[in-house]
Structures are given as C-alpha cells and as structure tokens.
C-alpha cells in the first residue's frame, strides 16, 4: 500500500484547507452527480472522478462533490447539477469527462454556466 506517512501528510494539508473553508462558510458550491444504475451505465463514474481531479488540481476549497440517485430522466444521463451559493441550480446533461474542465473553469470558478451543455440547450434539439 502507498505509505501511510503520505496519508498523514495529506491529512495535515487537508485540515488547513478545511479550516480555510470554515472561515468562508456559507459560500460552498455544490456539484451533484447522478449515480443510479442509469447514470453509472451512461458513464457517470469517470465524470465524477474528472470533477474530483479538477477540483483537487485547482485547490477549490469551497466546492463539494456529492452523488444522487435517479431523477427520472435516464435518457439525459450522465447528469450533473452545479449549485453556486445564492444562484439557481444549473443542470448539465450527457456530460463527458472532457467537458468537465470547461464547466469548472467557466461556471464553478467564474460563475458563467456553459449554456450549450445544459438541459435547456439539449431539450431545444
């Protein structure tokens, strides 16, 4: 197994990030990924890991990634909700890992949803 000393170093570094997050409380951005049978079969796992990687790479302390079940629109999976503090939920559909860096850069970081990936754009087609 990778060294437990490494895990200890990760713990220490993460604790300082958690403390920073607590100071900025109320400002958490949530990324929620559909991980029911339909979502998993459509490719939700690599999408979720792509969000985790991007958030870790950019050290975005204020962002949490979580999972949810099936919301009944299986044909649009993988689906991802991005909820910025004080803003309405934006739902992305047919999400692929290669779309994640753009969603994080434009929406999570800069607050501008990527319109062409949203459910609204998909339903127009």
């Amino acid at each position: 197994m990778k060294s437990l000393a490494e895990l200890e170093a990760i713990r220490k570094a993460t604790l300082s990030r958690i403390n920073l997050r607590k100071e900025e409380k109320g400002e958490t951005t949530r990324v929620v990924i559909g991980m029911a049978t339909c979502g998993i079969a459509a490719g939700a796992r690599p999408v979720m890991l792509a969000f985790m990687d991007e958030i870790e790479k950019r050290k975005l302390n204020h962002v949490t990634v979580s999972q949810t079940g099936c919301i009944g629109m299986c044909r649009l999976e993988p689906m991802v909700d991005v909820i910025l503090p004080g803003k309405e939920k934006v739902t992305y559909v047919h999400v692929k890992p290669e779309m994640v860096p753009r969603i994080v850069a434009e929406h999570v970081v800069n607050g501008r949803p990527v319109e062409e990936y949203t459910i609204g754009a998909a339903e127009k087609n």
Binding site: L4, E8, R11, L15, M35, T37, I40, E56, S66
Partner: protein
C-alpha cells in the same frame, strides 16, 4: 454496463439503501480463469417474497418508478459469461450476492477500473458504512478497509479529493499485480 466494477458500484447502492454498516466486496480469481465476485452486507435483508422476484427487471423497492435493472443486468452478464448468480438474504441479518464468471469466455465483461470504483463508492458514502475489499488470485492477495484508514485521518473526511486520490492510487498499486490481467 461496460465492466464488472460498474456493476459493483451500482449494486453497492442497494446495500447502502438497506442500512448496512459494513459492506464487504470479495473478488477471487482462480487459476482456471473463474472469477467469483461477492458482495456481502449486514443491512436489513429481504423478505422471501422480495428475494424471489428481485431478479426481475420489474421488481424494485423504489416508489418513483417500476423498474430496477441493477440485479437483473448483473445476473444476465454472469450467466452469459458461463457463470452463475445467487442471492442469499435474511431479514434483519443482511444479504450476500455472489456472481461467478469465466473470464476466458468471450462474453465476459472486463473487471474495469476497480480502484476508481472503490474510490467512487467511498466518496459517495464517506461517513457510513464501512467498506472492505479483498482480492485474491494466483498472483497474490490484498485487503483494504475504510475501518483501518479512518482513525489515521482523525476527522478528515474520506470524501476529501486528496484522500480519494490517495485511495485510488493506493488500491491501483495493490490490485494491479493481482487482478491486472482481467481489468481491461
């Protein structure tokens, strides 16, 4: 599903929904190429009536829709690959799901990215239940448990991206020599 680890990711949700506090996944590959995949939980279990119809795609405990495809798809893929599928469950005690597959069968799905699957499972339910993974093959054996690493983290969540990444890399290092041959 594209691989067996995705089946695990999906089926584990049933154990979590059943209120399990410990979920154990075992993968055992024999010299002959037969793979046995076991998912065991100590959740609320199923009644004999539910157990009898649970492999039907039209059986589900959900109330929002009338289909449940996770278990029937696993059964189909196991049987298609020259294997078998069994479910044992007792109310109040838990459930054991066992699927066997011949990895040399052309219809057998690859195991897929098991380390990422485990990381995804743990990330989705970081506080409870505890997860345990045991893999064995002629190439060796390994075991991993969230119960072992949780005390070392002293309150830092298992869902923290840096911890998830450590779990993924750590498992990859350990699983590759044992089951690497059937992952792709």
């Amino acid at each position: 599903m594209r691989d067996l680890s995705l089946h695990l990711l999906d089926l584990v949700q049933n154990s979590i929904t059943a209120g399990a506090s410990l979920i154990t996944i075992r993968l055992s590959l024999e010299e002959s190429g037969m793979l046995t995949m076991t998912l065991e939980d100590n959740g609320k279990g199923m009644s004999p009536e539910l157990l009898e119809r649970v492999t039907s795609p039209f059986a589900t405990t959900r109330t929002t829709r009338k289909v449940g495809l996770g278990i029937p798809m696993m059964k189909e893929n196991a049987e298609k690959a020259g294997g078998s599928f069994t479910l044992e469950s007792e109310e109040g005690k838990g459930t054991v799901l066992t699927a066997t597959m011949d990895t040399r069968n052309i219809d057998c799905l690859p195991l897929g990215d098991l380390p990422s699957t485990m990381a995804s499972i743990i990330m989705g339910s970081p506080d409870n239940p505890e997860f345990s993974l045991r893999c064995s093959s002629p190439g060796g054996e390994m075991s991993f448990s969230t119960e072992e690493i949780r005390p070392l983290l002293e309150g830092v969540s298992l869902a923290e991206p840096s911890v998830v990444q450590w779990i993924r890399e750590s498992l990859d290092e350990e699983i590759q020599p044992i089951l690497g041959g059937i992952m792709k």
